[in-house]
């Protein structure tokens, strides 16, 4: 799990949940303490008034009549007391009826507050205190039923639980919305990168959160560097080839323009020299063209087949304008741009050039996405070109596939162009395959390239 958004989501939710649980327990505890202290302090007052109503007659004690509140007279009223002298229970309120309260052993001045079980399943808060009155050791236990308060407490807890759950859920939702909104600001970067891959953009937008800005800037910097480097090397190669070719052209003319009848030896030397010049020419052509190829994954301008193939065909038709060729094309209109523009133009241009050399009248060019069992295979492009020229013999087909691997084999028409085609297909991790065209009768070239 590597998503920052998920990590933050989980971390923040967990801490929020922990906070709420802690709040719950602390709240519970302090509410219990609060009610006990509150009821307890009232019981303290009741003990004091009980004590004043207590009359001591040598060894016996009695309560002054009329001094006691009536709640101690009604049975199971929820208000009870027990009075013990020297730890022997001598008096208890009428409300206790046939029950009693457990009296802990106490020294004078001691005070204990605890919860005990009362009659009829009542929960009692009991306060027990010991005094020394007129030489007697008197202990008083006073208790009050907590049931009514407990019902209130349960009610309150229920509301508290519901409200805090709603609060928790709202906070969680709010938090995930905030997170999503914050991370949404990164989405333009992602879509930029996608467009960059497709070659629709040359740099990433710098309108991004400051945390990723340095990264985006660095990527942009590298992109510019890469593009400049490619451009520089392409230009340098163009210049080199331009500089080399004029002198080479002169050599051509000197050698082919030799019209005097030379002696045998210099004639054969002349033929050798011509061969070497041709060889140099081919070497330069092939290696320079090869060096100019960008390959896939570059950040160069992408090839838009729908738009550029018709232009390319216009050029080919002009070059072969002395022949009336029909070039049919079928291009998948749903294709996005793919490959480096110059590479693809070179590939398809050479394929068309080749086909034009051999065709009688008709050439078919099909560019589509690879389809396997009626599913579109992503990142694979199919290029099929066929002509109605002479059909090619089996053994020639086999040699065509290997043609271009050795330079001196690439002399005739299928030569140099084919070796460049081979190089480009290799660069795009593709396959190339030659066979007889079933519809036109000439050569059919099938190429699949990987554009990811």
């Amino acid at each position: 799990m590597n998503s920052l958004e998920h990590r933050l989501q989980i971390g923040l939710s967990t801490s929020l949940l922990l906070l709420f649980i802690l709040l719950w327990f602390v709240g519970q505890q302090s509410m219990d303490d609060l009610t006990h202290e509150f009821v307890g302090s009232r019981l303290d007052h009741d003990i004091e008034s009980l004590l004043t109503a207590l009359e001591v007659n040598s060894e016996t004690i009695s309560l002054k009549k009329g001094k006691m509140p009536t709640v101690y007279q009604q049975p199971f009223s929820g208000h009870y007391f027990v009075i013990a002298v020297n730890n022997i229970t001598t008096l208890h309120s009428r409300s206790l009826w046939d029950h009693s309260l457990a009296m802990p052993k106490l020294n004078p001045g001691e005070r204990i507050l605890n919860i005990t079980d009362g009659p009829r399943n009542q929960k009692l808060l009991q306060i027990s205190m010991a005094f020394n009155k007129e030489g007697l050791n008197i202990s008083i236990a006073l208790a009050e039923d907590l049931s009514a308060i407990n019902i209130q407490k349960i009610k309150f807890k229920k509301y508290f639980l519901i409200l805090s759950s709603i609060g928790l859920i709202l906070l969680l939702v709010l938090q995930s919305v905030i997170l999503r909104l914050s991370f949404k600001r990164l989405e333009p970067v992602l879509s930029d990168i996608k467009h960059l891959e497709e070659g629709e953009l040359v740099k990433l937008s710098e309108n991004v959160p400051s945390e990723v800005l340095p990264l985006v800037r660095e990527v942009n910097h590298l992109l510019i560097l890469l593009e400049k480097r490619l451009e520089r090397s392409r230009n340098a190669l163009g210049n080199l080839s331009h500089a080399l070719k004029s002198p080479l052209n002169l050599l051509f003319q000197y050698l082919y323009g030799y019209s005097d009848k030379p002696d045998e030896k210099s004639h054969s030397n002349l033929i050798k020299a011509k061969k070497q010049v041709e060889r140099i020419n081919q070497l330069i052509n092939r290696e320079l063209k090869r060096a100019r190829l960008a390959g896939k994954g570059g950040s160069t301008q992408r090839f838009n087949a729908v738009q550029e193939v018709p232009e390319l065909i216009g050029v080919v038709k002009k070059i072969y304008s002395h022949r009336e060729l029909i070039i049919n094309t079928q291009i998948d209109k749903t294709m996005t741009t793919f490959g480096d523009r110059e590479d693809m133009l070179e590939l398809i241009g050479n394929l068309l050039d080749n086909a034009c050399k051999w065709a009688n009248h008709t050439i078919n060019l099909i560019i589509s996405r690879e389809i396997n069992n009626s599913d579109i295979v992503p990142d694979k492009i199919n290029i099929i070109i066929e002509d109605d020229g002479q059909s090619i013999k089996k053994e020639q087909l086999a040699s065509l596939i290997h043609r271009g691997s050795r330079l001196d084999e690439s002399v005739d028409g299928h030569g140099l162009g084919l070796s460049i085609i081979n190089d480009i297909v290799k660069l795009y991790a593709g396959t190339i395959d030659f066979k007889d065209s079933s519809s036109l009768g000439g050569l059919q070239v099938n190429i699949t390239i990987d554009i990811k």
């Binding site: 080839s241 080399l244 051509f252 003319q253 082919y256 323009g257 050029v315 070059i319 110059e342």
Partner: protein
């Protein structure tokens, strides 16, 4: 046929000029883009052979400037930059043909002839008017497929221009401009001499004189 050869390599342009003259073309040479653009605008060339890598102004710029001014003279681009995307740029700028360096002169001549025929709306592989067929390779005339007539260099140039423009009134100045190089004396009456010679070979009725206007080459008799 008068050609403008734009090439900055002096040695290459000199040998090319010699070779093309041998093939019956009058060739002027420009060595930089600015001269080339001016000459292409001012002189009535039949075609331009344009190198792209030129000093002062690039060939592509020269070409697109001509096309902007609606100067539609036929242009063959001659360049070492012959990758397909560069060819597309060349044709987009308005080129009519594109030849990669290094090339054989025969290839260039073939393309010049083909483009000339194309721009004069002549189809097919050779120049033909009725029973007359011009053999551009050997600079001779073939009549009714069996009789051959040898032509001198100037006769060949003149006849080719006539055969490319049959039925049109061609003034003496125009003929001079398209048959000879730039520095040729336009007032001389050499053209009349050659027309007389052609009439001797083809028959008087082939080339009709329009007094005060010029000459018309008759396509059919």
């Amino acid at each position: 046929m008068r050609l403008l050869l734009v090439e900055d390599d002096k040695e290459l342009s000199q040998t090319l000029q010699k070779e093309l003259s041998g093939k019956g073309f009058a060739v002027d040479v420009a060595e930089n883009g600015i001269d080339a653009e001016f000459m292409g605008d001012e002189e009535p060339y039949d075609m331009v052979i344009l190198d792209l890598g030129l000093p002062q102004r690039s060939g592509l710029e020269v070409l697109s400037n001509w096309r902007k001014k609606e100067n539609n003279l036929p242009v063959i681009i001659l360049t070492a930059r012959d990758s397909w995307h560069e060819r597309i740029d060349g044709f987009k700028a308005g080129a009519d043909d594109y030849l990669g360096k290094p090339f054989h002169v025969e290839e260039l001549v073939m393309r010049i002839q083909a483009l000339l025929r194309r721009t004069h709306n002549k189809v097919g592989g050779s120049l033909q008017c009725g029973a007359l067929k011009l053999d551009e390779e050997y600079q001779q005339l073939i009549i009714k497929d069996h009789e051959t007539l040898q032509l001198t260099g100037t006769e060949f140039r003149l006849l080719r221009y006539f055969m490319l423009n049959p039925g049109k009134v061609l003034s003496k100045t125009r003929l001079t401009e398209h048959v000879y190089e730039q520095d040729f004396d336009k007032d001389s009456n050499l053209i009349e001499v050659y027309i007389r010679r052609l009439r001797e070979k083809l028959g008087k009725e082939r080339i009709v004189t329009r007094r005060g206007q010029g000459y018309i080459f008759m396509d059919t008799l």
